[in-house]
């Protein structure tokens, strides 16, 4: 039980270096992956990334190497790189830790990517509430520019690449890639339909590699250790490590880095030192993630395991909820969040989430009818199937999974007689 299940890769410098000092970073082997990268060809890097099996850490889990290859092959006068640091998912704080503790590995990952895909301009989009990461990334960018890791003719290779910081104003939907890019362009943050995908028509209509902070932070390590070594970490279907933001009713909350394949119960019991009472459910991935009952904690932190249960791993938040909490109360809180954050573009998300709340309240008040349950399920399905972006598609997840695993809670909200009191 007390065996250490952590595996420190992205967090290996945490606490050991002064994050504000580029010298510290260099002294601990920093920017050597970049030197190694620019000594090979962009194609080699893309191949290496594909071989590593790294999948996007923002939640959608798209293979990073494949994305890079698409941008690399897209023809355009200019290509962009965007680092999505708009970490707005409740329960997630991994990107904040990365930016606050080791900002240069993110920059290094971006420069390697820029070299591989041929991008000349990069943006780091940080949510407005992250005052400290904004300050630290800004300082790190300046230091990297001074040392010649950003700017013209990087390391004498002829590579021109620079990074600009862009901060949001606190809108959750900015984490959605199209809304984020529209926001950088100066437009209101609203999602749009796909395809076209960012790899062909992204920022300013140009090919764009947009990835999460954690994805970029992985890149120097993959180049450093080689895809073969990297892919030894984790499981057959999920390579590398995962940063886990552990919160809720566990004794020890915080950020942990674990290899893929650890069991959820291990995260709760080993890293979190368990709960005081008993576990009611664990929400994985953040507010948009599924709520799992205790008997499913045998599931592994593995893309395949989750997909087989019709769920997604999300960005790796683990929120532990004990029996002192009311399930419907938590679901209501989650939905209230999405109602507030919906951008308002598409019908199902704009209008639908409000009615999820209206219907849920009937169950909370014990005034629901049987047909409300059917309507609720139909509405969940419509929102999932027809919302224009991930925000809407994932908004009913907590509701849907609690309906699946805790049907008795909802059944208790249905009136015994058939007519509703007026």
């Amino acid at each position: 039980m007390n065996e250490n299940i952590e595996k420190k890769l992205l967090t290996k410098r945490f606490g050991l270096i002064d994050p504000m000092s580029i010298e510290d970073y260099l002294a601990s082997g920093g920017y050597s992956a970049l030197r190694k990268a620019v000594s090979t060809t962009p194609e080699t890097i893309v191949e290496e990334m594909k071989a590593s099996g790294l999948r996007g850490r923002g939640g959608a889990a798209f293979p990073v190497g494949v994305k890079m290859e698409m941008v690399q092959k897209a023809e355009a006068d200019i290509k962009y790189l965007v680092c999505n640091a708009d970490e707005g998912e409740p329960g997630n704080f991994k990107d904040r830790y990365l930016m606050e503790n080791d900002p240069h590995q993110i920059i290094e990952g971006m420069v390697i990517s820029a070299y591989a895909v041929g991008a000349s301009k990069g943006y780091i989009f940080i949510r407005g509430e992250y005052a400290r990461p904004i300050y630290m990334m800004d300082s790190a960018i300046k230091a990297a520019q001074e040392k010649g890791f950003l700017g013209k003719n990087i390391l004498g290779t002829g590579l021109d690449f620079d990074i600009e910081l862009y901060t949001g104003a606190g809108s959750y939907v900015c984490g959605e890639e199209f809304a984020l890019m529209l926001c950088i362009e100066g437009n209101p943050a609203r999602s749009t339909f796909k395809p076209p995908f960012p790899t062909n028509e992204g920022l300013y209509g140009k090919p764009t590699q947009i990835n999460n902070v954690e994805s970029f932070a992985n890149i120097p390590h993959i180049i450093e250790m080689g895809a073969k070594e990297f892919s030894k970490i984790g499981t057959k279907h999920s390579k590398g490590t995962k940063l886990v933001s552990l919160s809720g009713n566990v004794r020890k909350k915080g950020l942990f880095e674990v290899p893929f394949g650890v069991h959820l119960w291990e995260i709760v019991e080993n890293l979190g030192r368990g709960v005081m009472g008993s576990i009611k459910m664990v929400q994985v991935g953040g507010a948009s993630g599924p709520c799992l009952p205790p008997n499913l904690l045998g599931m592994k932190l593995d893309y395949k395991d989750f997909a087989e249960n019709d769920m997604s791993l999300g960005s790796g938040a683990v929120i532990v909820i004990d029996t002192k909490n009311d399930i419907l109360d938590i679901v209501r809180n989650t939905l209230e969040f999405f109602r507030h954050e919906s951008c308002g573009k598409c019908t199902p998300c704009r209008e639908g989430i409000v009615h999820l709340l209206v219907l849920l309240d009937r169950f909370i008040l014990g005034e629901a009818e049987k047909k409300d349950l059917e309507l609720l399920k139909s509405l969940i399905q419509t929102i999932e199937l027809t919302s224009i972006c991930g925000l809407g598609q994932a908004a009913p997840t907590a509701l849907k999974t609690t309906l699946r695993y805790f049907p008795e809670v909802y059944a208790a909200g249905i009136r015994k007689n058939h007519t509703r009191a007026i």
């Binding site: 308002g344 598409c346 019908t347 639908g352 009615h355 309507l375 139909s378 999932e384 027809t386 224009i388």
Partner: protein
């Protein structure tokens, strides 16, 4: 042509690569409902009503935004699709003022139509609409937030076609709205009142301000002599309201219908369109001869006048001082006609039937009053309103026998008819100006260079050895381009520029029947030129009634009476918002 093979509802179909699922389905007779989609606009894909099932894809795909790809297997009517469509429509209805029976769009509302098609018998969701006040500040338009379904069509037409961006999304999520910046009233922002928003709105969130009741009142008042004028563009569009082919020329039926409604005299705005050509043509010649401000800009489109007064007031000296044909008619109806029939001006109630919402604004401008008391035009009805009025009166428009306009404002020429299409005023003016200047008969009177839907058109005419360059623009985004040309001196060698506020000219006006697309506008334009060719007289200065009017009353173009009745002035209405 590269093609792809796809399967829609188990039927194989081969379509050009890049074809939208929506169009591919249409090609085999499968209609997919849409709300935010508009064939002339950018894809929005926000109503999600056109969602279809594509095999191998987890979520439903919107047919309006997804291109057919090789091997796609599509289902447009599966249980999943039907339920999702229904739920999305029900969600819209739950935040919509469902007062359908008393709604101005009752019978031609796109939301209502889809709800009917989907067989929605009740909205399973509670109606949670928060009732808001209507914006009735504009004399032309009414904005009803309680009906808005946030499809964004009005935003696109206002921003992309007219270049104004008066309307946009505000707020987010469930409380997002479509409205002018800072929630201001329509009349307090720099809206041109063109009404293009009202023609693309699928519901009744923005509509013309109805004046039907005032007209009924006047008709039923035995002390009023009610005269009516019909704009050129109405005769090629109102047939659409009664199931006739777009572009059908229904002039005679229109006259008969108005008479059947009870108007005392039915006149033609085309008559004053000819008069406009006489005045405006001579004004142009005078400006050329006497070194006046050139290029001269046309003044017959009130939306365009609203635009230049609010956005480019420094260029107002370029605008012809001629009143629009509607207002010339109004001035004659109150300042010449009463004496002819032995009545007083205040006994006359003058109504105009216009393809336009900005005409409502124009009619109530303070300059447009007879003797500072009575408006020259008392009520303006759009084409759509007239159609409604005819339906109220139970008049079977398509079955009417054709009738002739009344004297003395009933005779007109082909030059006047084409006022309704972009380039028409220019062509009409050239037909007259050429003959006035050269004294010769114009051989080919068809100036085809200035016709058609291209945004900015040019032509050069040889006037007795002098090359005169002219330009034609329609829609306000194109007007803006022309204004910038003038400001930067790039238009200094042009003598005359026609500007129409609406795309396609008045036939594409904001008061025209619903459903206008570029293809349909072209049909109306074709109708317009067919009407021109069918007329015996096709040059304004050859109109015998015009000659008579000058002979017995006006004396000469730009004369004292004309100055008083037919010309106007403009106001700098620029403001910061």
């Amino acid at each position: 042509m590269e093609t792809v093979k796809i399967k829609i509802n188990n039927k194989e179909v081969e379509v050009e690569k890049g074809t939208l699922i929506l169009d591919a389905a249409k090609s085999i007779g499968v209609s997919i409902p849409t709300l935010c989609y508009h064939p002339d606009q950018e894809i929005k894909a926000n109503c999600r009503v056109c969602a279809v099932e594509v095999e191998g894809m987890k979520n439903l795909q919107t047919a309006c935004s997804t291109q057919a790809a090789e091997g796609m297997v599509i289902k447009t009517n599966s249980a999943k699709v039907r339920e999702a469509r229904k739920v999305n429509i029900e969600l819209l209805l739950a935040n919509h003022n469902m007062s359908c029976t008393t709604c101005i769009r009752n019978g031609n509302c796109e939301l209502q139509k889809i709800a009917a098609e989907l067989g929605i018998r009740e909205s399973r969701f509670d109606n949670i609409m928060v009732l808001q006040d209507k914006d009735e500040s504009s004399p032309s338009l009414v904005r009803n937030q309680n009906k808005c379904i946030k499809c964004g069509r009005c935003i696109q037409v206002c921003t992309n076609v007219q270049g104004l961006a008066i309307l946009d999304y505000a707020g987010r999520g469930h409380t997002s709205e479509v409205k002018p910046a800072y929630g201001m009233y329509l009349n307090d922002v720099r809206c041109a009142a063109c009404g293009q928003c009202s023609t693309v709105c699928p519901v009744a969130a923005i509509t013309e301000k109805e004046d039907i009741e005032r007209v009924w009142e006047a008709i039923n008042d035995p002390d009023k002599h009610v005269v009516v004028q019909t704009a050129p563009a109405v005769r090629v569009s109102i047939g659409e309201e009664f199931g006739m082919e777009p572009g059908s020329i229904v002039t005679g039926k229109l006259v008969a219908a108005l008479r059947a409604l009870g108007f005392d005299a039915v006149f033609d705005t085309d008559f004053t369109a000819d008069l406009t050509i006489m005045e405006e043509g001579h004004e142009l010649l005078r400006r050329i001869k006497k070194g006046g401000v050139l290029p001269m800009l046309t003044s017959c489109s009130p939306g365009w006048i609203n635009y230049i007064e609010q956005y480019y007031p420094e260029l107002l000296p370029h605008v012809s001082t001629c009143k629009s044909p509607q207002q010339m008619f109004g001035a004659l109806a109150k300042g010449y006609y009463p004496e002819k029939i032995g009545k007083e001006a205040e006994d006359i109630f003058s109504v105009s039937i216009m393809p336009c919402t900005a005409k409502k604004y124009e009619a109530q401008r303070s300059e447009m009053k007879h003797d500072k008391k009575h408006y020259d035009v008392d009520a303006v009805l759009t084409t759509r309103e007239l159609a409604r009025m005819l339906k109220q009166a139970g008049i079977a428009f398509d079955q009417l026998e054709e009738e002739e306009y009344d004297d003395p404002f009933g005779i007109s020429t082909g030059a006047a008819v084409i006022f309704g299409a972009t380039g028409g005023v220019m062509e009409a003016a050239l037909r007259t100006v050429y003959e006035v200047v050269t004294g010769e008969t114009l051989e080919n009177i068809n100036f085809t260079d200035v016709r058609g839907l291209e945004g900015i058109k040019e032509a050069a005419v040889d006037l007795a050895g002098q090359q005169v360059k002219v330009m034609v623009a329609h829609s306000l985004s194109k007007a803006k381009q022309v204004m910038e040309m003038i400001k930067s001196g790039k238009a200094s060698d042009y003598a005359f520029i026609e500007i129409m506020c609406c795309p396609g000219g008045c036939i594409g006006g904001g008061g025209q029947p619903y459903g206008a697309t570029n293809a349909l506008r072209q049909q109306r334009i074709d109708g317009t030129y067919r009407a021109d060719e069918a007329l015996a007289i096709r040059k304004s200065h050859e109109n015998p009634a015009i000659k008579k009017l000058y002979g017995e009353f006006l004396i000469e173009p730009l004369g004292e009476k004309s100055h008083h009745l037919l010309h106007t002035h403009y106001t700098n209405r620029k403001r910061s918002h």
